[in-house]
Amino acid sequence: MALDGLDLSVPSGVVYGFLGPNGAGKTTTMRLLTGLIHPDGGSIELLGRPFGRRDRRRLFDVGALVESPAFYPYLSGRANLRTLAASGAPTPKHRVEEVLELVGLKERGNDKVSTYSLGMKQRLGIAGALLSDPKLLLLDEPANGLDPAGIVAMRDTLRHLASVGKTVFISSHLLGEVSQLADVVGIIAAGKLVREGPIETLLSGEGQVRVRVAANEIERAVATLAPLGVAARVDGSDDGRPAGPANEIGWLVVPIEPSRAAEVNRALAGAGIYASGLESGSDLESLFLELTSAAPEPSAAGTAPIVPGNWQ
C-alpha cells in the first residue's frame, strides 16, 4: 500500500511544499487528488468536500502537472494548449495566450513540442495547469529541467499566484527550492505524514549548528553556550557528554538557527575555545533526513484529504 492514513491540511493562499523520499507516496497522492487513480479504501477530500469517482467536475478548480508533462509532440505548444483547453473545465480562448506569456513561451508557441527542451516542456506543463485559472494548483516536481532563470521565474510566478489567493501544492525533492518557495511543508515517509506545518515553525525547532572542539573542552563549551539559550550536546551521545576516546575531538551539536552560527563561534572564541570546524547545513535537509530515515512501512490503504482553509 502506498499511502497510510495521509491527512494533509493545506491552507488556502499558500505555497505548500510536499516532501518525501523516492517511493514515499508523493506522486500517488498527486494521482489520487487528480482522479487518475482511486483509493482501495478510505476517502479523499478535495477543496473541502469529499472527492470520489463521480466528482470529476471538482477538478475544474484544480490545475495539475502530474509526473512528466504530456503533450502531442506533433502539435505546437499553442495548439497543445488549445487542445487541452477543449477538455475539462471551460476555458476562454484568450487564456491560452495569457499562460503562454506567463511562462515565457509566447515566442516559441508555434513551434512543435517535439522541438522543445525538457525545461520548455515543463514550462508548457505549468501553463497547461494554469489554463483554467484554478483555485488549487498541484505541481509534481515543477522545477524539473528548468534552468536557474526558469526556476527563479517559476518561483516568482507561484509566489504571485499564492499572493492572489491561489493555493499552490508542490511536491519536490529539491529541499532548497522548497525552503525558498513554500510557506507550509508536509513531509511524507513510507506513505505517512511525519511532519507538517509552517516552515518557520518547523525550522525554528529544528535548526542546528555543529561545532568541532577538542574533547577536553566540550564541557566548558557547553557551559559557554548556555547563555545563548541553547543546550548543546555531543553528536551521537544521548546524555550530551563525551562518549569516550572516539570523541577526543568531537562534534558538538548546538540547536540554534544557522544564522546564529557566527554568534556561537564568537562566544566560544571569547572563552578561549577555538573550533576546528563549524557546520550549519540546510535545516530543512536535516529535518527531512531525520524524519524520513526511520519511517515505518505503511500497512493499509489510506486517505488523502486536502482542505484549503485558514492555517490553525
Binding site: 487518475l36 470529476r56 495539475a64 487541452l84 477538455s87
Partner: protein, 270 residues
C-alpha cells in the same frame, strides 16, 4: 462539441492520418494501373476476363468500394489503434482527466473523430479509385462507357454507408485492443494479426470466421462472386449483407463498451 472539434483538429495535423490515406490510395493505384498495363497479357490467361472486370464499369464501382473496405479496413484498424495507444503512451489522456474531463467521453469522442476521418478517407479513396480505374481501363483498351451507368448511382449512398459502417467497426476493434494494451504498437500489431489470421483461418473455419470483424465488415457489401477474389478483401466466407449489419453492430458496440468501461476503471499513470 468543442472536444470533437479539437479531436478533428488533432487528427488533421497528425502525419499518420495522411500517411494512412496516402498509402491506401498509392497501393490501389499501383494495383489498378498494373492490371490496366498488363491487361493484354492477362486477357489470354484462364480467368483473365474476370480480372479485367476489376476495371470494367459499372461493376468496378462495387469492386473499388470492396478494395477500400478490405485493405482500407486493415489500415483503419491500425490507425485507430495508433491513436488510442498514443493517448496512453504520450500521457495526453492523463492530462485531460486531471482537468476534470470524463474518461469515457474523451475516448468515445476520440473514436468519433476517427470514424469521421475514416468516412472522409473512404470517400477520397473511392474517388481516386474511380479515377485510377478509368485510367487503367483506358490503358487496357477496355470500354469506359459504363462509368456513366446511372443505375449504379442510386445504390451508391447505401453502399457508402455500409462501407463506412464496416470501417467504423474494424477501427473500433483496433481502438479497443490498443486501449486494453495501452500501447500503439500492440494495437497495430493485433490489428494486422486479426486481419491475416482471419484470412488464413477462413480457409479452414469459414463458418466461424465469417462472424469475425473483418469478414463481417466485408459482407456488408454484396460483391459479384466471380470477381470478389480480386478486390483485396476477404471473400472466402460471407454473411448475408443484412445479417452482417447486425454482426458488425455487435462488434462495434461491444468494442466501444469495453473501451469505455476499461478507461473508466483504469489506473492512469505516465
Amino acid at each position: 462539441m468543442r472536444l470533437l472539434v479539437s479531436t478533428l483538429g488533432k487528427l488533421r495535423s497528425r502525419l499518420a492520418t495522411w500517411l494512412t490515406i496516402g498509402l491506401l490510395i498509392l497501393l490501389m493505384a499501383l494495383i489498378y494501373l498494373a492490371v490496366g498495363a498488363t491487361a493484354k497479357d492477362t486477357a489470354t490467361r484462364p480467368n483473365g476476363q474476370a480480372v479485367l472486370l476489376l476495371i470494367t464499369f459499372p461493376g468496378a464501382y462495387a469492386l473499388i468500394l470492396g478494395f477500400v473496405l478490405g485493405l482500407g479496413g486493415l489500415f483503419v484498424m491500425a490507425y485507430a489503434a495508433a491513436i488510442a495507444g498514443s493517448e496512453w503512451t504520450w500521457g495526453t489522456l492523463k492530462t485531460a482527466v486531471a482537468r476534470g474531463e470524463s474518461r469515457s467521453r474523451y475516448m468515445m469522442t476520440t473514436y468519433l473523430g476517427i470514424a469521421l476521418v475514416a468516412g472522409v478517407g473512404m470517400l477520397v479513396a473511392f474517388a481516386v479509385g474511380v479515377l485510377v480505374t478509368f485510367l487503367a481501363a483506358k490503358l487496357a483498351g477496355v470500354s469506359t462507357d459504363g462509368i456513366t451507368d446511372t443505375s449504379i448511382f442510386g445504390n451508391l449512398p447505401e453502399q457508402f454507408l455500409r462501407g463506412w459502417y464496416g470501417l467504423v467497426e474494424v477501427g473500433a476493434v483496433g481502438f479497443t485492443v490498443a486501449t486494453l494494451a495501452r500501447s500503439q504498437l500492440a494495437g497495430v500489431g493485433a490489428g494486422i494479426g486479426i486481419y491475416f489470421a482471419g484470412s488464413f483461418a477462413g480457409l479452414f473455419l469459414p463458418d466461424v470466421v465469417k462472424y469475425l470483424p473483418f469478414a463481417a465488415a466485408n459482407s456488408l457489401i454484396a460483391v459479384d462472386s466471380s470477381t470478389a477474389g480480386a478486390s483485396g478483401g476477404q471473400t472466402l466466407a460471407r454473411l448475408d449483407p443484412n445479417m452482417a449489419l447486425l454482426v458488425v453492430g455487435l462488434w462495434l458496440v461491444g468494442s466501444l463498451a469495453v473501451t469505455a468501461l476499461f478507461t473508466e476503471r483504469a489506473e492512469i499513470s505516465g
